[in-house]
């Protein structure tokens, strides 16, 4: 046995082992090129000769770099050769070989320097794999990625447009809804039959619902467009009349369900009254929709030394535990009723309004009752 790292066994032995190394070299499924330390080709196998169209004999004596296009040549001299000398090998390099027919053949090249111990001049071995398919695969991947990015970008633009559309639509719907509301008020002062009055009452309720829905959708679209919920806090005017007004409106929608209200507010409360009214409207609407119809919905609005507390309670089945984490997410609807109950924005917007006030909206639900509680500190934190 030889102790050298590279000692070709005798051909007799090869054949005995069932391997013809000469043939393996010539017809291997990759190109082999041997060169001296300066890169002059000393031998090339048949596979390489076939790929490139040069007869193997004609390649001998040429520099390996002569087979590369200009760019490749520069890379070869400035990177490939130095790395090869430093590391003894350089692998998985994507290059192009210029064929006899002047075609550029994409290849992946591995190269190593041999360091014969017994003073033999070191030489360079190149192994080459044609990589046309791999390159087109890579290009395909790249194209797919670019396409995906373009799609994401287009969808972002799309969804922004959609939200702007919602904002404009909501905006423009408010006027006719307000008109109908005014019409309902005016008709309410006319002499009407009982039936006419009933119809008018229902219409009034529908106007309130539509207006509330539009407010929520607009706030949601505004939030998505980066506007967020803006507050106009004002402690000079009282909050209670606004809450009473909301309760009166919701009673008109309640269709027989009772709404009980207790007010114990020490004015003034420094808040955005319109927003707090919207929050209450959303909580009451939610309680009327999901609570048991034969039990009253209760509102308690009060202040203590530190906070404004608005609690809305309804009876009926408790909220399932798995629904808790989704309650305040937009477009979440309690799925138990089958029929659709609006967009599922009410609690989300209520929570956003609470947050904008530096307060919180929490929920407790058991067999006895479900209670949503809004708590807002009456004083801004000490820092401001």
């Amino acid at each position: 046995m030889s102790d050298g790292p590279y000692c070709p066994p005798s051909s007799a032995g090869d054949v005995d082992a069932g391997i013809d190394f000469e043939n393996l070299f010539e017809t291997a499924p990759c190109g082999y090129v041997l060169a001296d330390k300066d890169g002059r080709i000393t031998r090339a196998n048949q596979t390489f000769a076939q790929w490139t169209g040069y007869p193997a004999a004609l390649l001998i004596g040429r520099r390996f770099s002569d087979l590369l296009p200009v760019v490749g040549k520069i890379f070869y001299e400035t990177h490939f050769v130095p790395m090869l000398h430093i590391q003894g090998r350089f692998t998985e390099v994507a290059l192009e070989i210029v064929s006899a027919g002047n075609q550029k053949i994409p290849v992946i090249v591995n190269a190593s320097m041999t360091n014969e111990p017994d003073g033999v001049i070191p030489s360079i071995r190149f192994t080459l794999f044609v990589s046309a398919e791999r390159r087109s695969y890579e290009r395909g991947l790249l194209a797919a990625r670019n396409e995906a990015q373009a799609t994401i970008l287009a969808e972002r633009v799309d969804s922004e447009l959609r939200e702007q559309f919602i904002a404009v639509l909501g905006h423009d719907l408010r006027n006719p809804i307000a008109s109908i509301g005014s019409g309902v008020h005016l008709l309410g002062k006319e002499a009407l039959t009982d039936r006419g009055r009933k119809i008018l009452e229902l219409m009034g309720g529908s106007v309130v619902r539509a207006a509330g829905l539009i407010d929520n959708v607009l706030d949601f679209a505004r939030g998505r467009l980066g506007g967020g919920i803006t507050l106009m806090r004002d402690a000079r005017e009282s909050l209670e009349p606004v809450l009473r007004q909301v309760v009166a409106e919701l009673r008109s929608i309640a269709a027989g369900q009772r709404v009980e209200a207790i007010y114990a507010i020490a004015e003034p409360v420094n808040c955005d009254r319109v927003r707090i009214g919207q929050l209450l409207s959303n909580l009451l609407g939610n309680a009327l929709t999901h609570g048991a119809k034969d039990q009253p919905v209760r509102l308690e609005a009060s202040t203590d030394a530190d906070a404004l507390i608005i609690a809305v309670t309804n009876g009926g089945a408790p909220i399932p535990t798995e629904a808790f984490e989704h309650l305040f997410q937009p477009f979440y609807r309690g799925g138990d009723k089958g029929a659709s109950h609006g967009l599922g924005l009410g609690l989300h917007i209520a929570a956003e309004i609470a947050r904008a006030h530096g307060g919180s909206l929490t929920v407790q639900s058991d067999e006895a009752q479900t209670c949503f509680t809004f708590t807002m500190p009456l004083r801004q934190s000490a820092s401001d």
Partner: protein, 124 residues
């Protein structure tokens, strides 16, 4: 003081007919005399003719050469004694962004809120 108030003349500027009628209904029920205009240009013509108008109650977004806020600014320059009340369904303005100590009332107004606002402006 219904007798006293019956002499007070207001100008309501609103482009939506039903809302305008509603506003007139509320204010007339409260004892005011109400002139109406459906845009700012019409309002200026009425203001030119009637120097007895004490208060302008105007919507913000209306067709025409001026919006409601611009109308109030012009009115404040030309008739500085007139009280100003602005309203809108989709805009919310701060009182201090209005000319001449004007006030803002968000839509939809309740009867009570509108009348209270008008009265507080007239006594101020």
């Amino acid at each position: 003081m219904p007798l006293e108030e019956s002499k007070i003349i207001l100008l309501l500027v609103e482009d939506e007919a039903l809302i305008r009628m509603h506003g007139i209904d509320i204010l007339e029920s409260a004892g005011f005399i109400v002139f109406e205009a459906c845009n700012a240009d019409e309002a200026v013509i009425i203001l030119d003719k009637h120097n007895e108008i004490r208060l302008i109650f105007s919507d913000v977004d209306m067709p025409g050469s001026m919006n409601g806020l611009e109308l109030l600014e012009l009115a404040h320059l030309r008739w500085p004694k007139i009280r100003l009340l602005l309203t809108s369904g989709h805009r919310r303005l701060k009182d201090d962004s209005l000319p001449g100590q004007g006030k803002f009332l968000p839509k939809p107004w309740s009867e009570e809120a509108l009348v209270n606002k008008v009265r507080s402006l007239l006594v101020a």
